[in-house]
């Protein structure tokens, strides 16, 4: 793909989503990560009306729940090329990228992307060495993702004059949407006051402003344009997808030091790239998915991706603009806050929701008015972001 210019391709070179499937998110001790993945794949295949033997290229991702390519033992030993991806929060987007590029390169005309995970309870614990840091950093109690989200949010609220109530509004909307979604984990609506009054985890963030590591799986069937319209009544075009790592000066998790600033996130780079390539603007988006590991992250990502200006979020939230019925509906399935965060599955959950919204068959709250442009955004350690623009 050419940097800096919109991509124009013949329809036969375009990649479309023609089927999607999802195992409910949450916590269920009776089912393994692999079993959830199998169910999501079978649902996606059935949705596309194809069989596993029709898949010519596959990519799968999981952070902790096994080697995705061993799924061939459950799905059928067809000899299909199957690439394993382990790319943190961008795992799902990376599987889509791998499959889309393989299709465009002529490897196959039909491909499958799957992501799944099943995490232990409680905050993620990570090894300092894995991030190139000394043991002292974790031993002295500074190597926690929750601290990073709180520190970034605290500074953001201070710099942009946003109140803590805005954080509660984000979570309240997530649980409202989750309550309507059959595959969400947290299905109980909570008031802003209940969210503000929940136990403090790391101020300004309280317990109900954080998502929890959980479990789940999601899968997509992707097809080249010449097949997509035969298979699917309303295929969703993958207009653009961009994956970025951090550049100098970004404020990232597990940073013992930061340069004085300004701090620019890889989310800004990834979002600018996808809108440029799709030849669309953030203002064209009618349904969006933003990484919401916590309320603060979603608030920041709204502006970093260009969906609003810095400091404008509180006004937007208060006016209901990010509700399913609003101007820029965000996380209509409840996001990570209501769904939990199975790392390998989370990115594909976003695609699942946006695809179903654009096809007018959302499992939960449907955005009215037949939205035509959707957007997905993930962000994670150690400073990666992936964004996609989807259109019908």
């Amino acid at each position: 793909m050419t940097e800096g210019r919109p991509t124009t391709r013949a329809r036969s070179d375009e990649v479309y989503v023609v089927g999607c499937g999802m195992h409910p998110f949450g916590r269920d001790d009776t089912v393994t990560g692999m079993a959830m993945a199998e169910r999501a794949v079978r649902e996606a295949l059935a949705d596309a009306g194809v069989g596993w033997e029709d898949i010519g290229y596959a990519a799968g991702g999981s952070d902790v729940s096994g080697k995705p390519d061993t799924l061939v033992g459950r799905l059928g030993l067809t000899g299909v090329p199957f690439v394993n991806v382990q790319n943190g929060c961008a795992t799902g987007a990376s599987t889509v990228l791998a499959v889309a590029n393989a299709l465009r390169a002529g490897e196959a005309s039909l491909g499958l992307a799957v992501g799944f995970d099943k995490h232990e309870r409680g905050a993620f614990n990570v090894s300092a060495a894995r991030y190139g840091l000394g043991d002292w950093y974790a031993e002295s109690g500074m190597m926690l993702t929750t601290q990073f989200f709180a520190l970034k949010t605290q500074r953001y609220l201070h710099e942009h004059g946003v109140s803590e109530r805005a954080l509660a509004m984000v979570a309240a909307r997530a649980f409202r949407n989750g309550a309507q979604h059959p595959m969400a984990w947290r299905r109980k609506p909570l008031t802003e006051q209940e969210i503000l009054d929940s136990p403090e985890v790391s101020p300004p963030l309280t317990q109900y402003m954080f998502c929890s590591p959980g479990q789940g799986a999601a899968a997509l069937v992707l097809a080249l344009g010449n097949r997509a319209f035969d298979l699917c009544e309303r295929p969703v075009r993958l207009a653009s997808l961009a994956l970025r790592t951090r550049r100098f000066g970004s404020f990232e998790v597990f940073s013992p030091w930061l340069p004085p600033g300004p701090h620019r996130s890889p989310s800004v780079d990834a979002a600018e790239a996808v809108f440029r390539r799709a030849d669309l603007r953030p203002a064209d988006v009618r349904v969006a998915q933003l990484q919401d590991t916590d309320s603060g992250s979603e608030l920041i990502h709204l502006a970093e991706t260009g969906l609003c200006d810095h400091g404008e979020q509180e006004e937007l939230l208060a006016a209901g603009d990010t509700d399913a019925t609003g101007r820029i509906p965000v996380n209509t399935d409840g996001g990570c806050l209501a769904g939990g965060e199975p790392v390998g599955a989370s990115g594909l959950r976003q695609f699942h929701e946006v695809v179903r919204q654009l096809q007018g068959r959302a499992p939960g709250a449907q955005v009215p008015g037949a939205p035509r442009v959707g957007f997905t955004h993930v962000y994670g350690a150690p400073g990666i972001s992936a964004c996609a623009v989807l259109t019908v």
Partner: protein, 141 residues
């Protein structure tokens, strides 16, 4: 009681103890802890660089729940603690903040100190760096 530092290469000197990072001869970027290559430019050489002891709280939060290992709780067990970034001018350093909640704010003047982090199995007290409120922020900055 014997004491040791949580990691020798973070510090320089004893009284006063200072934090030591590295500075790039090419673009003057200051990093902490020290590393051998510059994350910003390919041209410079990195050399040890002693950091200022005084700064301002840039952001802060509280660790309210006990972290999982490899975190090591202090001898008396886990107590919630503050962490934050301190703006030292040329670099922001993440650190434990020995600041009471009622005094905590972005912009608070603080200075370097040490605090016991945990004890080794043989009873050795392990010290880490922290920042505490600075009663005389204008002196020798």
């Amino acid at each position: 009681m014997t004491t040791r530092l949580v990691a020798e290469d973070l510090f320089e000197g004893v009284d006063p103890m200072r934090l030591v990072g590295a500075r790039c001869s090419g673009c003057h970027t200051v990093v902490f802890p020290r590393q051998d290559s510059c994350p910003r430019c390919a041209d410079g050489a990195m050399s040890a660089h002693v950091l200022p002891v005084r700064g301002l709280v840039w952001s802060w939060t509280l660790q309210a729940f006990p972290p999982k290992p490899p975190y090591r709780p202090p001898a008396g067990g886990f107590q919630p603690y503050h962490v934050g970034y301190v703006d030292l001018g040329e670099v922001l350093v993440e650190a434990r903040l020995e600041v009471p909640r009622r005094e905590m704010r972005i912009g608070l003047p603080v200075r370097l100190t040490t605090m016991p982090a945990y004890h080794d199995e043989d009873g050795t007290e392990v010290l880490t760096f922290a920042f505490r409120p600075d009663p005389s922020p204008e002196e020798d900055r």
